[in-house]
Subunit: 324 residues, 2 copies
């Protein structure tokens, strides 16, 4: 059995694991802060160090392990064939040749794909969308990432941009998004957008346990606090989650009418709200999308929390470099 | 050389032609009114009659012609494997086994696909998107039809609904669409929606040559009159076309970020407005979508006016039944 190292690079964390080629084991899982402030070289060096750390750890379980290479998932837009991250605002990167630098540093062949594509591919390979033919993935975090997997392959489009579902507008004159568009899903349903909407409500005087949770420092309300308060029954937090569900449901209805997928996988912190999120979300999709498309589509939470990106980066390596 | 008959069934017209399998000739083109009021049997009989008329005409040019079968494009949603039109409001049909009835009537094997899918496939085979890898087609008529062609095959999705781009919302609280959703492209950019917006403007007292074209009977303003007036320089008509372009551009920007296509083909009467439509439409897409996706994508008018659906139905027959 060969192994492939999966790297999930984010603006906050780097997660690395060493994965059996058949997906039967993830060994040497390490998660560390991304040293963004220390600069691009420091981030690349940290990735290389974590790869070595993960492999060393994995070899304790499987001595003499054969490591075939490294699959990297990174924020996009990317130039995949060149292995280059074209633009990553959260990392401060422009045209970073990440694949070749990691390959040189680790001494292993490497591939590069988009982080949200990898997360979707991971859920297709081993998670909530296992084996489904047409899979759409959405990851709600600092942004709203998206990916499309068709017949077990990431759908990349003409220039590696495909799947940017977080940057589809559901309100052409709505909130300005960081991408320049108006009314993007990301502008309503990302973690920071959810926190901002909760802060607006609490500031307007609505009663909520959120006020106590931050000891009156309303600006300190975060998305995870909102999910927790919703889970614990707070009325205002539940309302914010319901609104989020309706925004996401509107965007997912658009996707359902365009791609008619077998599965939509929603991942990220907001899914901690459970049925508080998924019930109104599914109702919104039913209300808006074509019935034969809704009936064909499961809408489910991701099942590989914190690992989907690693598994998917490994699957992308296998797909691009060929299985052993 | 074998030939395949292509049928493009619409709520207004039935267009039929006999096409050489390599696309080098379309013979025996016949276009007749769809006898909707006379009932479903009358429509099926008319389709069969027109197939025979087209083949008879075609055989005058190519005596002894070998006709392999019939490809049908029909309004959907369809059940393609069963050859059934599930629902066609403009024809008053529910669960009509169109493929087998046409096959029985004509004595030829037949296939069924969605009309907008066929139009997109036709433009891929022989038209404005010839040979492109990822093609999105939109047809502006009584509705706003859509289709997606990837690597020369229609992308059907899990239950033959994929490509319904006209039913993606660009304003979650916007105009109610006939499909039940709110803010669909079709509710703003279909022919009737364009006419309705022009009528609203003229009724509000805006000066326009449209008022004279309908001799003061403002309700008689139609979408083709708006396109003609825009082409001839009427200020109000141009404004309505510009607004239409912005709606379409918003929807196309969403598609560009999701599918990252090589080509978007826009067809239908509104394209008669030419640059009056395409200039603001392209500007809107540039304003909203990711730059690497916009740069990879041509947005062009269809080039097979009135024939894309026939050619595409033939291509779908070849794809489903195998080329000779």
């Amino acid at each position: 059995m060969r192994y492939v190292v999966g790297v999930d690079l984010g603006g906050t964390n780097i997660a690395v694991g060493t994965v059996a080629e058949d997906g039967s084991a993830l060994l040497g899982l390490v998660v560390r802060d991304t040293p963004v402030a220390a600069g691009a070289d420091a981030v690349v060096n940290e990735i290389v160090r974590l790869i070595k750390e993960s492999v060393t750890e994995a070899k304790k379980a499987v001595p003499g392990m054969d490591v075939a290479g490294v699959g990297i998932g990174a924020p996009g837009p990317l130039h995949r064939a060149q292995g280059v991250v074209r633009l990553a605002p959260n990392l401060g990167w422009v045209d970073m040749p990440l694949r070749d630098r990691v390959s040189a540093g680790s001494g292993l062949p490497a591939t590069l794909d988009n982080d949200a594509n990898c997360a979707t591919l991971g859920e297709w390979w081993l998670g909530a969308a296992k084996g489904a033919r047409i899979v759409v993935g959405m990851t709600i975090g600092t942004g709203v990432g998206g990916g499309v997997v068709i017949d077990g392959e990431v759908f990349h489009g003409a220039s590696d941009v495909a799947g940017e579902i977080g940057h589809t507008s559901i309100d052409s004159t709505g909130r300005r998004c960081k991408c320049g568009n108006y009314g993007c899903l990301e502008a309503y349903a990302s973690g920071p957008a959810i926190a901002a909407r909760a802060i607006e409500e609490v500031e307007s005087g609505e009663p909520s346990t959120l006020r106590d949770l931050v000891k009156g420092n309303i600006k300190a309300i975060t998305a995870p606090l909102v999910y927790q308060a919703a889970h614990d029954g707070d009325h205002l937090a539940r309302q914010v989650v319901r609104e989020t569900a309706r925004f996401l449901g509107t965007g997912i209805a658009n996707i359902v009418n365009i791609l008619n997928p077998d599965v939509v996988v929603v991942s990220g912190g907001v899914t901690l709200a459970g049925d508080q999120l998924f019930d109104p979300l599914r109702r919104e999709v039913i209300r808006r999308a074509f019935k034969p498309a809704v009936e064909a589509c499961r809408i489910v939470p991701g099942s590989l929390t914190g690992k989907a990106g690693i598994y998917g980066a490994v699957a992308a390596f296998k797909s691009q470099r060929g299985a052993a």
